[in-house]
């Protein structure tokens, strides 16, 4: 690991100030992506600004049909939250399937979505549930947040503070895990929301995306059969040593079918 200066601000304002004063800074939340990256010397920030001291950044509340999760809330706390399990069980399931218990004890939702790994799980929930991302500067709609591989609409120095998930009438997540890394080879989140059925796919492409043909079909009939016949094109999908683009395309349909079955379950 390269050297860096370490800061632990006590407020968001102080965090932003430290960020703008530093040469090449990075925020750190749970560190479960950033520290492995630093260990591999894939990043060499001048300063690390640890958001771990900001107690207000973590927490879960449910009110008026919206589940609001603070950016620094750990995966384990979302997975074991009785409130989340009651309002949006699919979200608790998803959090409980991230990595392993040790990673879940430190990794946070804000870090996960800010990082926007193409195989990360949370982006699928954010997009399918049509969540709103709150930052230190504005609110960003789910459809505008993820802009590419490891890319988001966040500006330099902007901090995710919380994510607001409207409760869906029905929702479920299904993930085909990479057996070694636990990340999603393909994950599909389906949700019957106030604005219609939404289907978000992670792991398959450089960034999370909505599968519109499936949304239309499920809007007419919310059954596994409605999506069973929909073939997904492998064009533009990820191909690596774990799976070809064709295999991932096939998995999108299989995971969508299973997710709808689980939602109806």
């Amino acid at each position: 690991m390269y050297q860096f200066a370490y800061h632990r601000p006590g407020s968001l304002a102080e965090a932003e100030k430290l960020f703008s004063a530093a040469e090449d800074p990075k925020f750190m939340s749970g560190g479960q992506t950033l520290i492995p990256t630093l260990k591999q010397r894939l990043a060499s920030p001048s300063d690390i600004i640890d958001l771990g001291g900001l107690k207000d950044l973590a927490g879960i509340s449910v009110a008026d049909g919206v589940v609001t999760i603070g950016a620094a809330t750990r995966h384990a706390d979302v997975a074991s939250s009785a409130e989340v399990r009651k309002a949006i069980p699919a979200l608790a399931d998803l959090a409980g399937w991230i990595g392993d218990p040790l990673v879940r004890h430190r990794g946070t939702i804000g870090g996960s979505i800010a990082n926007a790994d193409p195989s990360a799980d949370y982006p699928a929930a954010v997009v399918a549930l049509n969540a709103t991302v709150h930052t230190t500067r504005r609110t960003i709609a789910a459809d505008d947040f993820f802009t590419g591989m490891f890319e988001t609409a966040l500006h330099t120095g902007e901090i995710v503070t919380k994510i607001a998930f409207p409760v869906a009438a029905q929702a479920a997540y299904e993930k085909f895990r990479n057996p070694a890394s636990r990340y999603a080879m393909v994950g599909v989140f389906v949700a019957r929301t106030a604005g219609g059925v939404r289907v978000a796919v992670t792991g398959a492409a450089p960034s999370v995306f909505r599968q519109e043909a499936m949304e239309a079909a499920l809007g007419k009939s919310f059954t596994p059969d409605a999506v069973a016949g929909i073939k997904v094109s492998p064009d533009g999908l990820n191909a690596d040593l774990h799976a070809s683009a064709e295999y991932r395309a096939h998995l999108v349909t299989v995971m969508a079918k299973r997710a709808v079955a689980r939602a109806n379950g």
Binding site: M1, R8, I35, P36, G99, P101
Partner: protein, 161 residues
């Protein structure tokens, strides 16, 4: 250098460390607690698991400075008055180890999992809970049996208390 203070196995310790010092390096090299192992470079093996403020984490994926003010427990902190912890005892009884390299991490993960499952543990749950701990010797079978036995023994003890 950054000053860092924490409690390790009940004892207050402080030191000046480089911010890039990993918690596992601090424990092994500064505190000379070498029971916590390093088995990988990629945050995947779990040989380095310790408890920070009561929950199991990979100490190779936490900076020592992040543990400022925290209470850390390592494998050395489990035995009390020369008596092995029930999970350590169960690993010995059920041959839950061969070379022993993964064992400190396995045991720290097991103690945490038993705490989070007061209702008891079945084999499927134990195997799912062990996803962050890799063993290249045992094939896991006896590790699972040891944790099952420890969970039952500890539950029974609580019920008797």
């Amino acid at each position: 250098m950054t000053a860092v203070s924490m409690t390790v196995n009940g004892k207050s310790v402080s030191a000046d460390v480089e911010p890039r010092t990993l918690l596992v390096e601090y424990l092994r090299e500064n505190q000379r607690l070498t029971g916590t192992h390093v088995g990988c470079d990629t945050s995947q093996c779990g040989a380095c698991v310790v408890h920070v403020d009561g929950v199991a984490v990979k100490s190779c994926t936490v900076l020592a400075v992040q543990a400022e003010g925290a209470s850390v427990v390592t494998i050395e902190g489990l035995a009390k008055d020369g008596k092995l912890h029930p999970v350590q005892e169960a690993f010995r009884e059920h041959h839950g180890l061969q070379c022993g390299f993964c064992t400190p991490g396995m045991i720290m993960t097991a103690v945490d999992m038993i705490r989070r499952h007061p209702e008891g543990l079945d084999e499927a749950t134990i195997r799912a809970e062990l996803e962050g701990n890799i063993c290249r010797c045992t094939g896991y079978h006896n590790i699972v049996r040891a944790i099952e036995a420890a969970s039952a023994a500890m539950g029974a003890k609580e019920a008797a208390a």
